[in-house]
Symmetry: D2
Subunit: 333 residues, 4 copies
Amino acid sequence: MRAGIIGATGYTGVELVKIIARHSHLELSVITSESYAGKPFSEIYPLMQGVCDMILVENDLEEVSKKADVFFLCLPHKTAMESAKFLYEKGKIVIDLSADFRIKDKNIYEEVYGTDHTASHLLEKAVYGQAEIYTKEIQKTSLIAGAGCYPTSIITPLYPLLESGLIDDNSFIIADSKSGVSGAGRKPSLTNIFCEANEDLKPYGIFSHRHNSEIDFILSEAQKNTHVIFTPHLLPVNRGILSTIYFKTKAGKDELENTIKEKYKGRYFVRIKNTIPAIRYVANTNFIDIAVYKKDDTAIIVSAIDNLLKGASGQAVQCFNIMQNIEETTGLI
Amino acid sequence: MRAGIIGATGYTGVELVKIIARHSHLELSVITSESYAGKPFSEIYPLMQGVCDMILVENDLEEVSKKADVFFLCLPHKTAMESAKFLYEKGKIVIDLSADFRIKDKNIYEEVYGTDHTASHLLEKAVYGQAEIYTKEIQKTSLIAGAGCYPTSIITPLYPLLESGLIDDNSFIIADSKSGVSGAGRKPSLTNIFCEANEDLKPYGIFSHRHNSEIDFILSEAQKNTHVIFTPHLLPVNRGILSTIYFKTKAGKDELENTIKEKYKGRYFVRIKNTIPAIRYVANTNFIDIAVYKKDDTAIIVSAIDNLLKGASGQAVQCFNIMQNIEETTGLI
Amino acid sequence: MRAGIIGATGYTGVELVKIIARHSHLELSVITSESYAGKPFSEIYPLMQGVCDMILVENDLEEVSKKADVFFLCLPHKTAMESAKFLYEKGKIVIDLSADFRIKDKNIYEEVYGTDHTASHLLEKAVYGQAEIYTKEIQKTSLIAGAGCYPTSIITPLYPLLESGLIDDNSFIIADSKSGVSGAGRKPSLTNIFCEANEDLKPYGIFSHRHNSEIDFILSEAQKNTHVIFTPHLLPVNRGILSTIYFKTKAGKDELENTIKEKYKGRYFVRIKNTIPAIRYVANTNFIDIAVYKKDDTAIIVSAIDNLLKGASGQAVQCFNIMQNIEETTGLI
Amino acid sequence: MRAGIIGATGYTGVELVKIIARHSHLELSVITSESYAGKPFSEIYPLMQGVCDMILVENDLEEVSKKADVFFLCLPHKTAMESAKFLYEKGKIVIDLSADFRIKDKNIYEEVYGTDHTASHLLEKAVYGQAEIYTKEIQKTSLIAGAGCYPTSIITPLYPLLESGLIDDNSFIIADSKSGVSGAGRKPSLTNIFCEANEDLKPYGIFSHRHNSEIDFILSEAQKNTHVIFTPHLLPVNRGILSTIYFKTKAGKDELENTIKEKYKGRYFVRIKNTIPAIRYVANTNFIDIAVYKKDDTAIIVSAIDNLLKGASGQAVQCFNIMQNIEETTGLI
């Protein structure tokens, strides 16, 4: 199947190029870029010389749409929804890595992202791309709203627990998350230059990060009115997210652990650990590592992912694999 | 005044050497080391060549005690208590950077540290070395139990709030802390080698870190039976601790902030920020930066310190300054 | 074909495990460790959980030899030669990643490594494992002396130039090399702990690094009496080597570049670049990137490799592929 | 004496602010910024809260010139020469950290920097700010051309050797230099963002870096027609430069070392080492560490500095101290 990547030169784009290069069911047929059209991909990413020297083309969707069957959209929100609509209506499979179709409530979306949703009729068609939770829905759709990176690390362990009613107060769950700098994208700014991020750690978006709405929206599908107090931190590593999650519960460690295990039974990329998860154990993989701790009435869950793989491009391809009914690990190990 | 450092070649030792070198009231007169006795300090720390080339001597306390008036002890716990006792009983000023005199309840100490306390009669004489909270007591003592690094970052903002009864449930306060690798000391191990710590983040000591007892013990002096759920993380930076603290409260942001401000009024090293604290804003300084956030009934406090300065050697000298009734910033700016 | 790894828990071992896991012609059948025998590999490397949970066994060569057809030796020098001899004489294919069979002159070896060579009769059978230079010899041997990491980065570009007599003074070639900390191995020491390596750069082994003899020995096969002035530096990154090489030459940039290109024509893993090589362009790949610069009578060559892949485990498998007459990229892309 | 900093918000600016804050003969009286005028300095650098909360003002030189006696210029080249001229002609002491007055040959300057020199009549008044070489000239001038960072690390050890004619071929000296990312300034670009610089090393400006002309120009004052082959590399650390320098010589190690020692006898900030220099031994100090190695007819010199201190702001203040005939270490230790 021919694959296209719209907006291929960001960090999620290059990961997709790498995955597709070794994917037995996908052939990369078109890659686009606003800034670098006309240049070979390997000029932007010299590490790809000899692996992908394909020329980047402009984002002319009419033209581009002829060249592939499945499209991965690596675009900023708002731009993404327009491209998704166009391609979806051409009958293409669309896997959108932006936030545009993640929150199915148009009003919440518009408030959080401060923009009109101009393709809101597609919200009900889109399936949230957490691959292990929405597996059945993914099999039937051709529009994926790729799950956010922070949300993947938080939703995956909490969803089954909320579903089972094991969390005492589902409006006082704390998720203290730490993300590598690639999460801030490739656009230079004072926040992501080396000397300002190196040898540092700082929280940001306290009480106000957009992913909080996504987390709450999806987790409320497991248990109504769930609210997570979510604090992201910028961590001086290239890639990876670690979330430390705290809540009160009457359930024991085993019950919590078994509930998660049961939910994800047989799923290759979810690893329930009996040792402490760490970013370096999941970096450059599509795994999510989860461990459960309990003392008195407090539970701590630690989860770790690679923000660009399980948190973006890896899970996007995993969703594609599920959709195509092929081995979900194809191209990902 | 002549100053000695017992166990001078660890990371807290070298910071003390640097501070004393520019301290107008202290002159370094003796430095000891078990492993490096006979060598110049600058051979162990080449950065100190020309600054401190003093020869390290053995830990022969009888001999060493003659050579200084104030002693900073940078020793492992247990060894520290013996040395502290010896020097204290010789009439020396003792500033112990170990954990041996921090918890004044002998039983708790012995349980947490798994060893007998052989100088427990000094526990009541020792003053906990959080310089801004125990200022008056510090002025009157000659035995300081230097405050722990993590505890300093957590106790400093929480103490006044607990004292004022502003925290709803003082047994469900969450402190998610991240520390640079120097906190693990200079002894090589699989935990602190570069390739295992770099590009990584991981929690450790979940529900079981020794500093948790120290935090709870001291904060219970502000409000009885306080319990903090404390999770330390190993962060790939050389120095610095950032703690993100969560609790429920009916108080507003202003009340919380003002309570802390009032407590530390006029104290140079406590900065209440209206921007987000970060490790790089306090690294290589003796400051503690604190910011308060509030939404619905949840408060978040972010604090940051340099673990080797405000969290160890800097605060130790600050205590000495207070004790001597000189400017508390002497040698520290 | 069944593959065994002797000494599997170092950094080259884990890379071999990863490569073999995706190699279509190799199946991992036995892994050994002196320190961790009896434990699952994924306990030592939690990132491998679900990928390789095989139990490590002791280095009992008699037993182990029955379990595989090809053996990769990740052992310290001296120990390696004994194991290589044993396995080779059992008719096994042996790919030794130590230095024991790289220098074919027993006397030089013994002087440089300060130990007797107790398998010196095998020196003439062993082929130096720079895969693109010794291709024909590799096809015919069953004993590979895996090329050193620094040497690979220096020999690969210089060999063809020396062969063609393009370097003016082959006893005054300067190779200023910088290596990531994984090159120092996984054994904790004051050199490789985080706080001593991070935020630092320092040379070591000036005029005296063992790899210098290997470099000179191999390059002297291209042109007699070649001597490289080689200075390694410890670089605060996990993996990668970059070498900046300087020499005088009358040849122009094109002639130098074309000579290298011609030598490695059709070889996938050698990339002659027209942009500046960098460690991040080759990290986690088996590529060697090379670029040539010329001004007046001075040439500068910059080369970059991943020290654990092209500089060790990747090239070892590449040699195996060549030996087996299969696609040389198998398992490596 | 009142000190002003023009362009105070870059990395050299903040170092100057820190130094002046503890300098007994200087009082910071005015700081300017094009981008941040009207804001307190500590808003741009939160680490300075409580240390320097002075308000930044616009670069209105007429106004600004009234407010200080000595001016440190942290401006891009070209802009710097205009400001220097204005302030110098007002009778101010001017210490310019740009490249504008370093190369006294107008033609070379104009070729290298691609711009007219509009204050070339001041070239002969300006003194090159390598503090240990041009000490006497510095004492008599009121216009300093602050030495470049790379040049300081290379010129300091080589100058006395060239002066003494100890280098065999002074047109084939190789300086392989590695600099921390702060050398690239604080302006965000694809080169200096975290994910592109971290876990990497790459050379740049091969055969073409502007500092090469500065190095050659100054060293040719020691010995005519000196030419250094200079290759800078971008190193993933915040601060520091290490240069590894190679040349042929008939002189022995002792002669080389003694020549350097003799030249810098009694100078606090030059340390001739008998151990290997490293970036972490000089970071956050004004020292330059130098070590000499010799084998056969090749010498290797390793030097290390902090690029922002000895390579910029520290040496600038050192020059000021010399000029004022006060202790040269004032404010710098």
